[in-house]
Amino acid sequence: MSAGADFLDRLLAAVPGSQADTPVKDYPTVRLSAPKDLLPAARLLKDELGFDYLEMVTAVDWLGPVNLGGFVSNPNPNPFTQKHPGPPVSPVAGPGVTYRPVLDLLWSFGDLVKNRKVFLRLEVPRDRAEAPSLTGLFPAADWQEREAFDLFGIRFAGHPNLIKILTPDFLQGHPLRKDYVHAKDRYDAE
């Protein structure tokens, strides 16, 4: 962390409201306070600090415990252990982990010359999951944002072609959301 302290200080100073967060995998991590901070931060990282490679755009859904009322029909389908059902699905919330109705977005920027990495995080409410698109700065953001849109339902404002990328056209909803309930389609019919 010490080696990256200089660019971290510049980033924190340039983006008001941002603060250093728990490091993701020991890499410097910055939490943004509002979606409008993302573009200035990314532009600073790319143009002045040398982070010219967008590695990843992803998200975490922090809604309560996993809902098994969805597509998992029988959590313990082994016929030999019906008398001893599998471990109950218990909440993983503990110290420092609280369930809340937010989607925690994560961007990872890399500097291939100096071998550095920095993460940006941003929480958006689940019902209005919106963030600015980075496609103008990083063409690599195109498909990754489409993936985050497809699986989490995050709308990236300014994306030129925000359509499904992984799931088939007939799949309803966003499967990686915790409250996703699978509607049976033509391949599920008995």
Binding site: F71, P77, L166, T167
Partner: protein, 177 residues
């Protein structure tokens, strides 16, 4: 080929059947088509140590040239349409082998929102190979079983061949067997 029974015709056709079945049996060309991790094991079966060429199994790059559709891996719902399309592009007689738990029944992804629970829900299957993934030996055994099945095929349905015996698989056109 003789269509109606003629004196001695049955004997002639039987020998013809035998020769045709023999040539089908030893030129079983699968489509180069891998869907998931099972495809790695399929490639091993083609390669030097197990040498599928011994059985006349030579991978072909086009469904038009292939006799055998080896479903090696997980059939996702998005891939289901193309698989049906490929199946219909293959000339008859065509054979389908479901390799691995995924292609048999959905396997580890049975509860997934994205996986078809077995490729036999969309196309007819001749041989199921269990395993996750099956070893190349299992694949070779499956091909040998398929060869036995091919030797039972008959050219003309008039001589007592069912649809299955004539075409190698169930009829998808809806005609009762």
């Amino acid at each position: 080929m003789v269509a109606k029974p003629v004196p001695g015709g049955q004997v002639v056709l039987t020998s013809t059947d035998y020769i045709i079945d023999l040539s089908r049996k030893y030129s079983l060309w699968p489509l180069t088509f891998g869907l998931a991790c099972c495809a790695i094991e399929m490639m091993v079966a083609y390669a030097g140590r197990f040498d599928f060429d011994r059985f006349g199994v030579i991978p072909r790059p086009s469904p038009r040239q292939a006799d055998l559709l080896l479903i090696a891996g997980t059939v996702t719902k998005k891939m289901a349409e193309p698989i049906v399309q490929i199946y219909h592009q293959m000339p008859e007689p065509r054979f389908v082998m479901a390799m691995g738990s995924c292609a048999n029944c959905g396997g580890p992804y049975y509860d997934s929102y994205a996986v078809v629970k077995g490729v036999d829900r969309i196309i007819p299957v001749d041989i199921y190979v269990p395993g996750c993934p099956p070893r190349p030996e299992a694949l070779i055994y499956a091909v040998m079983e398929l060869q036995k099945k091919i030797m039972r095929m008959k050219l003309e349905r008039t001589y007592g061949a069912t649809v299955q015996a004539e075409k190698g698989s169930r009829d998808l056109t809806g005609e009762p067997a």
